[in-house]
């Protein structure tokens, strides 16, 4: 979707401000928001692409005004409601100090035990697919990205749409987030690192020696 999250190339946000001696978390609530998001993800009711898509649906003005973990919280509440695990009404009631009816864990969920945390965090999620699916492109191929503007999820940023690039690395077969993020299937296909000259992306004023490398899937590319 053409949301506020798709920031590449926008102007006006000012300088990059670096905080010295930055802590991992700035507030206790950030620690808890981070941890409940990871633990709830383990329940198995959604995938990481759905998590990203949920955050992207924050209204643009709110998204830009929010801090990072406020966006995570927005996404988590949305997913919990959508999957029926925690409803909006329950959240409203709990915020006002309402008492929760203790319920059994919902069917079909895996609850993360403290003793399993270390092992679970040491596992990478499995977006890489071990299937022998042929690539549509070879390293060195000249390609053009498709011009798409889906209201759903996509990992093809606006600044790199309908642009000419070169396939530089074939990363193998991966889940396709554009469909996986909206529950339309894993749709495994090759993912490549595609290089775009800065002048192709940004015009004649861009650096003649500069390039941006974007990881894109077969469905984002056509032969150039």
């Amino acid at each position: 979707m053409n949301g506020a999250h798709d920031l590449g190339g926008m102007h006006g946000f000012g300088p990059v401000e670096i905080e010295r001696n930055e802590p991992t978390f700035h507030h206790e609530w950030e620690r808890r928001a981070f941890a409940i998001t990871l633990a709830a993800g383990f329940l198995g009711k959604w995938n990481i692409d759905m998590s990203r898509y949920a955050r992207e649906q924050m209204p643009p003005a709110e998204y830009l005004a929010a801090t990072y973990y406020e966006r995570w919280l927005f996404g988590l509440e949305k997913l919990l409601d959508a999957t029926g695990l925690v409803s909006r009404a329950e959240l409203q009631s709990a915020r006002k100090g309402g008492v929760t009816q203790a319920a059994l864990p919902a069917a079909g969920v895996r609850v993360l035990a403290a003793s399993d945390v270390e092992a679970v965090l040491r596992k990478s999620r499995e977006a890489k697919v071990d299937e022998d699916i042929p690539p549509r492109f070879n390293v060195g191929d000249r390609v053009r990205t498709v011009n798409i503007n889906p209201v759903g999820h996509t990992r093809l940023p606006r600044y790199a749409r309908d642009k000419r690039g070169v396939v530089t690395v074939d990363h193998g077969v991966w889940v396709f987030p554009d469909t996986n993020g909206t529950g339309r299937g894993r749709n495994p296909q090759h993912c490549y690192s595609v290089s775009f000259e800065a002048r192709e992306l940004w015009g004649a004023d861009a650096g003649p020696r500069d390039a941006t490398y974007v990881d894109l899937w077969d469905d984002h590319l056509v032969p150039a």
């Binding site: 590449g8 946000f13 959240l91 945390v117 965090l121 977006a127 940023p157």
Partner: protein, 216 residues
């Protein structure tokens, strides 16, 4: 390392934060109430184990962080064979140190040289190689960095203290997939007699994102 925190310092920082509310009787903020309500609902419903939450937090505050990446970089500087393996298959070479896990399913290491300067961004969200760098700093997730890194990389680098010569190529890696990028910074001159541990102590988080040089 001045720009990174001691694991115990920020515990105090945040505990102070909570303590302050209590002592001054300040009401909890809206977001604090939201998180508290959500956590208690999830716990009451048996969907999350509070001890698991503590273990998750402890992992990223005290165990996984940029010291991991610094060890990898220093080893690559002193061992040409490891450097070759690291550039060929970053995931496997990093795993030799036991650094594996979340947000690091495939790691690609890109090497800075006098001819090529690499820097890493995630314009769409905040993708970052957790297993070697820990959780990303606020500036990496911020709108200024995400918007400008691709359209004005030299301007951003210059502001951050890195002036890239005009004839050096700048490569910006936008982490749009599950591939995570780690920059192998240039080894500074004058470090020929340093041990691997001494070298690792020089390597900063920002140099492994590609927005700082390593200073001897």
């Amino acid at each position: 390392m001045s720009q990174e925190h001691e694991p115990h310092h920020h515990h105090e920082h945040a505990d102070d934060d909570v303590q302050e509310h209590r002592e001054h009787g300040a009401p909890l903020t809206e977001v604090e109430l939201r998180v508290r309500a959500l956590e208690s609902l999830l716990v009451d419903k048996g969907l999350v184990d509070p001890a698991a939450l503590d273990a998750i937090i402890d992992t990223y505050e005290t165990k996984v962080g940029p010291r991991n990446g610094a060890k990898v970089v220093a080893h690559a500087w002193v061992d040409p064979d490891y450097r070759r393996r690291l550039l060929e298959d970053g995931t496997a070479a990093v795993a030799e140190f036991g650094f594996v896990g979340r947000q690091s399913e495939k790691i690609v290491v890109v090497e800075n040289t006098p001819k090529v300067h690499n820097m890493v961004v995630c314009t769409l969200c905040s993708c970052y190689p957790w297993a070697v760098l820990g959780l990303p700093p606020v500036w990496y997730k911020s709108a200024p960095y995400r918007s400008r890194a691709v359209i004005d990389p030299r301007g951003v680098l210059s502001e951050m203290g890195v002036n890239v010569p005009a004839d050096t190529e700048v490569r910006v890696w936008d982490s749009t997939a599950e591939i995570r990028y780690l920059v192998l910074p240039e080894r500074p001159a004058g470090t020929e007699n340093m041990t691997e541990d001494q070298l690792a102590a020089l390597v900063t988080r920002d140099s492994m994102i590609g927005v700082a040089r390593v200073q001897a």
